[in-house]
């Protein structure tokens, strides 16, 4: 398999997540779809980190040492931070969903219209 295979899987997962996030009425289903999209982005970041040659390395082929490790693994570091932010986001999102459910007895995003009035 090659870089393209992973990117295609990532694109399909992202599109499915996008459809779910935009079409669902239940806020928890929307959050699950957003997690699918985060996952797709992580997959693309790690695949790029594994397969592509960084531009800085291509222009200076004799580079070595820590500089090169830095260039090769930045995608994996990015995906660690994406996972961290996704965890914080889902904790806050579910807290908001439960707070809305307590005050309005609904979890449908189409029913949470307090700020419209």
């Amino acid at each position: 398999m090659s870089l393209e295979n992973f990117l295609i899987v990532s694109a399909v997962l992202f599109a499915i997540g996008l459809y779910g996030a935009l079409s669902k009425r239940n806020a928890i289903a929307v959050l699950m779809s957003i997690e699918l999209m985060f996952n797709a982005v992580n997959l693309a970041a790690v695949a790029f980190s594994r397969y592509t040659l960084p531009a800085a390395l291509a222009s200076r082929p004799s580079a070595g040492g820590d500089q090169m490790v830095h260039l090769l693994l930045t995608g994996q570091i990015f995906s660690i931070f994406i996972i961290t932010i996704a965890a914080a986001e889902v904790a806050l999102g579910l807290a908001i969903v439960i707070a809305i459910y307590r005050s309005r007895s609904t979890v449908f995003v189409t029913d949470a219209t307090q700020m419209r009035r």
Binding site: I8, L22, L43, L53, F81, T84, T110
Partner: protein
Amino acid sequence: MPGQGTEASLTVDVVFWVLAVSSIVAAFAVVHMRNLFRAALFLIVSFVAVAGMFVLLRAEFIAAVQVLIYVGAISVLIIFAILMTGEVESGSPAHSLRIPVGILAALFGLTAIFVSVDTEWRILDQFIEAGLLSAGATAQVRDVFSNTIPWIARMLVQDFVLAFEVASVVLLAAIIGALALIRER
């Protein structure tokens, strides 16, 4: 091949396709199940399949983090929220804009697939095979991808130490915010 790998073998191809198909089918089930609890279970299947793909990409640490945080923590949190809101029966209906949104998502996915297939990526393996990298650099690439975990550790606490510390502040703020939001008054 960077790293002494078996990436070209048939077994790896078979594993990749099994993981790819199962992650996509599970993701499709997540957005199609009306029963939210089953959707959450399929979400776990999708997360595990993507963790397997991280292993194929020589990102063992990311795979472990994925299993610990997504499969272990986020899924449990989502299932708890489903049980606490008690909306399992009424499920997760799609609203009336489902079809235009589906067309939009399909267009986005097709565009992304077209871009990823049509672009000339600078593939690391091809540069190494063409001998465009120095011998030292090639050895270093092999060294990095044979075990990425010590390099990730070094990068996290040296080059990305500011982001690393800010991430812990973000997590603390998220914990306090979540507690403040759901506190009984």
